[in-house]
Symmetry: C2
Subunit: 333 residues, 2 copies
């Protein structure tokens, strides 16, 4: 409502030039301590807020991070993206309060790179967080080619060329699988994503490694994201001639689908059938029996992502890798 207060106003009120006010607020050394403090105090008092557009126009930096979600890739079908988004916002606020997170959704795959392009060329953001990386990831290819700063959540086939933060899925699934083996299970089925997500391959590898180390034959099935596909796969497996006695699932959703299929076939999860899920659902969503799962802190991951995305570009790309924690609850007896 009141006309926004600008540097010019401050300058005239203080009897200084716009330049000096700007440099005082910027904390530069070539303005005396006395005036610097006077300016800062006054700016604070009247609640001066620098106009972002002007600053951006001049500096070319936008103080904002882009996060683009893709409907076609199933980004909305589970809670992963939204949890990451919220944690990212929080981490960004903590690390750099004056920065913004700009979120956009893109309905179709073919628009995805256009959206990145639009954001870059339009000067909307000065870096991206790219989630749900695939092995061959066109977004990564595009961003690498354009030289625009970004950090991924999840590795890719070109992981040495860009900054990334990831969870050590191979290790996590090795431990989950080994736990089941050590508990005496021999027929352990792995329910994985049907996708080229990098983490899907990592998960598969962890399961395979553990099974082969124990000289057991790996059996894995791939499902679409979502409950229904996993439910069907679980039903089929459980009604087969040699049903598995344990399931390792790439997501908690899958695990819940297995629980339902198990219950309907008269099995009691945790007693007749062991189930381990992974990292989708917030802790408060527990149901009875509670699900054993692999968990990683979204907060830590997000903090690392923000740290890397705010870091000045140049030098060799940096990486952070977090370990899963194996939470043993009811469904593993």
């Amino acid at each position: 409502m009141p006309p926004n207060i600008t540097l010019k106003h401050l300058a005239s009120q203080l009897g200084l030039s716009v330049t000096t006010v700007s440099r005082a607020l910027g904390g530069f050394e070539d303005v005396s301590v006395a005036t610097r403090e006077r300016v800062q105090a006054f700016a604070n008092e009247v609640g001066y807020q620098p106009n972002q557009s002007a600053r951006r126009l001049k500096t070319g930096r936008t103080s904002s991070v882009g996060y683009i979600m893709n409907g076609a890739q199933g980004d909305f079908r589970d809670q992963f993206n939204t949890r990451l988004l919220v944690a990212l916002g929080q981490a960004l606020h903590d690390a750099a309060p004056e920065h913004d997170l700009i979120v956009t959704t893109v309905p179709e795959d073919r628009d995805e790179l256009d959206t990145y392009k639009r954001f870059i060329d339009g000067g909307k953001v000065d870096s991206f967080v790219v989630a749900r990386t695939r092995i061959q990831d066109p977004r990564v290819d595009f961003l690498l080619e354009s030289g625009f700063p970004f950090v991924t959540h999840g590795r890719t086939g070109r992981a040495d060329e860009h900054a990334w933060v990831d969870t050590n899925a191979t290790d996590g699934f090795v431990r989950a699988t080994r736990y089941l083996i050590d508990s005496g299970h021999r027929d352990i089925l792995f329910l994985n994503f049907f996708s080229d997500l990098y983490t899907a391959v990592e998960r598969e590898k962890g399961y395979h490694d553990a099974m082969q180390a124990a000289e057991l034959t790996p059996m894995s099935r791939h499902c679409q994201h979502g409950y229904a596909s996993a439910y069907q796969a679980a039903c089929e497996a459980l009604s087969s001639a040699t049903p598995p006695t344990a399931f390792v699932c790439a997501s908690d959703i899958f695990a819940y689908a297995v629980m339902e299929a198990a219950t309907e076939s008269g099995r009691v999860p945790g007693k007749d059938l062991a189930i381990i899920g992974a990292d989708n659902l917030p802790a408060q969503m527990y149901r009875q029996p509670s699900l054993s799962t692999l968990e990683v802190s979204f907060e830590s991951v997000s903090q690392a992502l923000i740290e890397l995305v705010l870091a000045p570009a140049g030098g060799t790309p940096r990486h952070r890798c977090f370990d899963y924690e194996l939470l043993l609850r009811d469904t593993t007896g």
Copy 2:
């Protein structure tokens, strides 16, 4: 990587002035059809993207909508906010592809208005979507006082002074409660939020109205957000001298807590105990027995929010109200 392409480049390539190029792209009438098309074709070909910062600086409009989430208010404890956020992003993309959604989280209550102020004065957005309204809502007071455009999801005590979109919670809970009454239940407990959310009052009213219309005595309990508090309340109620035979819950989370408490006390939900929840969890999260619930489309609500938030200010505030759909599944027999 390549120096960004500007109006000046277009102009010199085309042998026109910057003014004409700008007006051609803007679709103005005072540039000949021939040149207008020539300019647009060329801009398209080279992939010109107007610099947002410059445009914003000049016009004062930002083409972006702000959405501020508050950690202290429990905005992250359930899926409501994230679902709304995702649907909002989608709706904004559909309605106005060149607009952005700017998301920020604020950790403490006392920072909340500061964040709004920072966004307004810094020229970051030109309108807000305010969710989870309370009856006495300081955000609404602040925005009304500052004259800044916004639309709320949920009414407030000053609902006639601002644009809002809401779900008709009173009507929904009347119907849910009446359904249970019509099914023969007499002892129906209402598990409501312990808060001053506007919708909490609406829900309570719906339950009360239905109970009193049937000459039954309303019994409601208020819980903190989240599973634990509702679980405890349900346990206490079920072990009382005259336990309820049906629960109406203000959220699906509460309903799931009731289901757990019921199962532990040896009751079978849907058989010994009827339960109706409301609007928190995506459909794929069903568990067995599946939960009867009140549902409203987040997509429709978000589309309405975006429509109102993009509408030019001025005139009397506009409103949209959506009805709940009562989904009868297993937990109501």
